[in-house]
Symmetry: C2
DNA sequence: GTCTATAATCGGATAGAC
DNA sequence: GTCTATCCGATTATAGAC
């Protein structure tokens, strides 16, 4: 198959250039979608921020829906990693604290992705209900069972496991989703403060 | 002044009817604005949900902006009440717990208002930065000072007061803002669970 | 690959009849 | 007060030149 063999090697420059342009578009689109949601975002805004014309943007992505779907897909691929990283063989309190830290780090490093997710949920999760049902929920069920086991063994204080997970999501994502409010009420970098507070809070709550 | 005296009494039915229609519009608008934000919402959606034509809606409110401003104004009028309700003369731990309960009750009873607020913050708080700066921030400063005093007196465990307030906002509003996710991951009414969990969490954190 | 021009539709707001 | 008809700018997407 000479044709198929040539394809990747024949145009490495073009492929790299294409990927670069796509990245620029996705970067710009993430800014706007995260702020205004799918319906509140216009292709003009994305194109201007990406430094190109609207028709040119549509040369790389067939439609507005496609740009959004790509961002959401990339995001969801990484969304569950911290929860999956809880080690059933580890020390319970430390495993939960490690999860909290990883989740907080994700919110700190990818605030726009967090806001994109939040906006989808607030809008009723029309595009990610499948992910929530098939991806998140089974993993939550699994983790809840794990935590219940730890509690039964007396290695973790008796707390509602479902509410525990909700609280971790709320507390970590808040710093990304409500950044605009935080910046006004208490300006300055409070990432360290948040980490220390959550560590203190969950240690007191969970230590048997 | 017979004219001015007549005005209110002369058309009580018309005024009542007008208020009723306005309420129907605001009710419908809250549904849509809370889900899709200002830019993602159309007057057609609001009008249809309110059971009237778009021009008729615009007879009651001059513009889309006015409908939104009215909802936001009504919301912000009540937003700070729970925080203002903290009694400096009360027992510290119980006062904080009472604040948490009131805030949670507000999220439970007015979830759309919570989502409207969240959407504004995610969008960069373009329409409520004045409220955050002039209304919320001074009250936060005041409350932080109060909490620091309680801690200095040894009546409250040593925690970061700013982070404490952020955590309360995050945990209580989460149940309204992320209701769609909660409903999928753990269906059913968990209002009681949430209240018990928060009570347990903050009691352990704050008891000296 | 990138652009200008444009089609087709949507959305906020107005005019004017009833 | 409520409606139909309509204006007009905004928005998604396409056509076609370069």
């Amino acid at each position: 198959m000479p044709a198929a063999e040539d394809q990747p090697a024949a145009s490495p420059a073009r492929s790299a250039r294409r990927q670069q342009t796509e990245s620029a578009i996705l970067e710009a689109a993430l800014d706007v979608f995260a702020m205004h949601g799918f319906r509140g975002t216009t292709l003009d805004q994305i194109a201007e921020r990406a430094g190109m014309s609207k028709p040119n943007l549509l040369y790389y992505f067939p439609s507005k829906e496609d740009v959004h779907a790509r961002l959401l897909g990339d995001l969801l691929d990484h969304w569950l990693a911290p929860l999956r990283g809880i080690d059933p063989g580890g020390e319970p309190v430390e495993e939960i604290l490690r999860y909290v830290r990883r989740k907080l780090a994700m919110s700190h490093d990818y605030p726009r992705e967090s806001r994109l997710f939040a906006g989808e949920i607030i809008a009723g999760a029309p595009r990610i209900s499948g992910f929530l049902t098939d991806g998140l929920r089974p993993l939550v069920d699994e983790t809840v069972a794990l935590i219940q086991g730890w509690i039964a063994q007396g290695r973790l204080a008796a707390v509602d496991p479902v509410q525990l997970l909700f609280s971790i999501w709320a507390l970590t994502q808040h710093h990304a989703d409500f950044a605009a409010q935080i910046e006004i009420v208490a300006p300055g970098d409070r990432a360290g403060d948040a980490g220390a507070f959550l560590d203190q809070m969950y240690r007191r709550l969970l230590t048997p």
